[in-house]
């Protein structure tokens, strides 16, 4: 069909926004709030959704995904909370150091890769550190629909307990906090044992925590479909490598501190993407030929695809030559 052929653009639709608030929450985490530049309302979103924030850092365009953590029913304001990563590639540092109230930015429409299972009779949330953000929106949504939930939230110290005070005072009987520095930890076996039939578990936190929850739940006989997780992988720096883009007829060099996807964008190649964190599958690219070793960091490809596909948003390559279909 070709009623009105339009080439799809890479990424989700964008919204121009103005930064309406910058609120440091503790030593590491700052909350940023956005209003629409055109004065209209934001689209409603489903809890668990993220947005990709476009940052103009000099000549460099940075795109980082962050969970939307405001109340999904609030279409006046979107909010994200950003943890400063001093070792990372600079996106969170840019947000902390450069972004001020009144700045114009671009963010994408909400994309949800971590949605609530609305069939669930009860939702159990397990958060580690900054992994609290999607649950802030989920809690707001479930409170509105009067659904059953509880939160188990592990933080390093009282001082770094982002949103702990707010959560504990609002929902004293549904929230439990665990402090690492007081050697408190979630007793997961106990927690999973005896949950009512139809309970769903959601985990967001460091990779080790996510793996632990999946493993423990599986060992306790929980069906995979009732255990949900979201893990965005930030692209890791790595050695520079060259890649041939056979469809664009270009050979480009991927720098130490950029991802293959970013290098393609820098060269003006319109490559598809959504989450930029190895989770959504949108940037999946066929490998035409390769002589070397892949460093796959995504959560998308199956092991048997590791020789002939690559996810340019997070994965890298070391070796003599790489040619991809892009």
């Amino acid at each position: 069909m070709s009623a009105a052929p339009q080439r799809a653009k890479a990424g989700a639709e964008k919204i121009e926004v103005i930064v309406s608030a910058v609120l440091p929450l503790n030593d590491l985490v700052t909350r940023f709030e956005f209003k629409r530049k055109d004065g209209n309302r934001f689209p409603t979103f489903s809890a668990g959704a993220h947005t990709v924030v476009h940052m103009r850092d000099g000549d460099r365009q940075r795109l980082n995904p962050y969970s939307l953590m405001s109340d999904p029913a609030d279409t006046e304001t979107y909010a994200i909370s950003v943890r400063r990563d001093d070792e990372g590639r600079g996106g969170s540092l840019f947000m902390h150091n450069n972004v001020k109230v009144g700045d114009a930015m671009e963010i994408t429409y909400p994309v949800n890769l971590f949605s609530l299972d609305l069939r669930a009779k009860k939702h159990v949330f397990l958060a580690g550190g900054i992994g609290i953000t999607p649950f802030m929106a989920m809690i707001a949504q479930l409170e509105r629909s009067s659904d059953s939930w509880e939160l188990h939230y592990s933080v390093r110290t009282e001082a770094l307990g982002t949103y702990v005070d707010q959560l504990v005072s609002k929902y004293p009987n549904k929230v439990r906090i665990y402090y690492d520095d007081q050697s408190q930890s979630i007793n997961l076996e106990n927690l999973l044992d005896g949950q009512p039939l139809g309970t769903n578990v959601y985990v967001c936190g460091p990779k080790g925590m996510i793996d632990w929850v999946h493993k423990t739940a599986a060992a306790a006989g929980w069906p995979d479909a009732n255990v949900h997780s979201e893990e965005f992988t930030a692209p890791q720096p790595g050695k520079e490598f060259q890649v041939r883009l056979c469809r664009s007829e270009k050979t480009i060099t991927v720098g130490e501190n950029e991802s293959l996807l970013e290098a393609m964008e820098r060269e003006g190649v319109d490559a598809p993407f959504l989450c930029r964190g190895g989770a959504c599958g949108q940037c999946e690219t066929n490998v035409v030929s390769s002589d070397g070793e892949f460093i796959h960091r995504d959560h998308w490809l199956e092991p048997d695809e590791h020789g002939n596909k690559i996810m340019p948003c997070v994965s890298r390559f070391i070796g003599k030559s790489l040619e991809i279909d892009r």
Binding site: A8, F45, Y109, S115, D224, L274
Partner: protein
């Protein structure tokens, strides 16, 4: 804009007819002289002015009579509309999407006034003026999905998204091409497509599912599908096959031009904001063979497509027995001249029939 709504029926005396306007804008589904399955998706962001692709939910001259036919189907068989308990939020999402779209796209026909959660909905063609509380089911005469789809042309499948799959967990289905919501309710994408021949082997459904799972808010998509229907029947359901199946045997060389209809579905896909569900509207358009061949390009092309269609597809689409008679009729409108690319009739530029 003034649409003259037809007074017509899709049953008994079959008084359904397309005006010249409706014939011109008919969504002819073949962009070339042959047909095979493909993941023929494109963005649903408008189209040429006046075409069925222009608005998010097309309203045409058949609106009132289609809604009357839907009400009759539902009165006989309430199971044509079902919504599993976890899909109510998606129903509200759909109600909002349709009310906002129609009031913006057809301001002279539909109005939506919102004061917080108190909404007033005015549907002038159907004479409806209701005030209700958004997200409060007790303030509507039906559930939100049923309420709004009793006022919107086309079938609606509301698909829950979970476990990397789509689930047929709610729908309003009264104008379907021989499939049953009551049978498919709760099935996943591969299960409800299981009867389709050839496409599984071609990997079509795997690719289509991947595409659909990735449809995002603010970026709807669409595609066309088609089949054949004898008499302008909207309700060609398995539940009523005993009523309409037999009518396929009533074709004669004399009546085929009027009785045989090409049935085209304009399928669109929207991500729903609160529920993260996907809504899949399936809008059915019917056109008699004698009206298709008024456009020389369409007459030539339809003959070639039907002639060359693989036997499995003609069987699956239910017209294998009538194909010879169809070809006898259509061949009179194919002079062998080449056709222009694309789906539009191009009546100004295509040569008249040369025989």
């Amino acid at each position: 804009m003034t649409i003259q709504f037809n007074k017509e029926t899709f049953r008994d005396d079959y008084s359904f007819k397309n005006s010249d306007w409706a014939i011109q804008r008919f969504p002819f589904p073949f962009h070339e002289d042959s047909y095979m399955y493909s993941v023929n998706m494109e963005q649903h962001r408008g189209g040429p002015a006046g075409s069925v692709y222009e608005k998010r939910f097309d309203v045409d001259e058949h609106y009132i009579s289609e809604m009357e036919d839907r009400a009759m189907v539902l009165a006989d068989d309430p199971l044509r509309c079902q919504s599993l308990p976890h899909m109510t939020l998606a129903g509200w999402d759909l109600l909002e999407l349709i009310m906002v779209s129609k009031s913006e796209d057809y301001p002279d026909l539909f109005e939506l006034h919102r004061e917080g959660d108190i909404w007033r909905w005015i549907n002038k063609p159907m004479g409806i003026d209701d005030t209700f509380t958004f997200l409060d089911e007790t303030t509507l005469p039906y559930g939100p999905m049923e309420y709004i789809t009793r006022q919107t042309q086309g079938d609606f499948c509301v698909l829950d998204q979970r476990d990397d799959n789509l689930w047929m967990d709610a729908g309003m289905v009264t104008t379907q091409a021989d499939w049953s919501l009551d049978f498919d309710i709760g099935m996943n994408f591969f299960e409800w497509h299981a009867p389709v021949p050839l496409a599984h082997e071609k990997g079509i459904f795997k690719r289509a599912l991947k595409f659909l799972l990735n449809i995002q808010q603010g970026a709807p998509a669409r595609r066309l599908n088609w089949t054949m229907t004898v008499n302008p029947l909207l309700d060609t359901s398995p539940e009523n096959y005993h009523k309409w199946g037999i009518q396929k045997t009533t074709l004669t060389p004399e009546n085929i031009g009027a009785k045989q209809h090409l049935r085209v579905e304009l399928q669109s896909f929207f991500r729903l904001p609160r529920s993260n569900a996907l809504v899949f509207p399936i809008r059915c358009y019917l056109i008699a063979f004698q009206d298709i061949v008024k456009s020389p390009k369409w007459g030539r092309r339809l003959h070639r497509v039907i002639r060359d269609l693989p036997e499995e597809l003609a069987t699956y689409k239910g017209f294998i027995d009538n194909r010879p008679m169809m070809l006898d009729f259509l061949s009179k409108y194919d002079d062998g001249l080449p056709t222009s690319p694309g789906v539009f009739p191009d009546n100004e530029t295509e040569p008249a029939l040369q025989k």
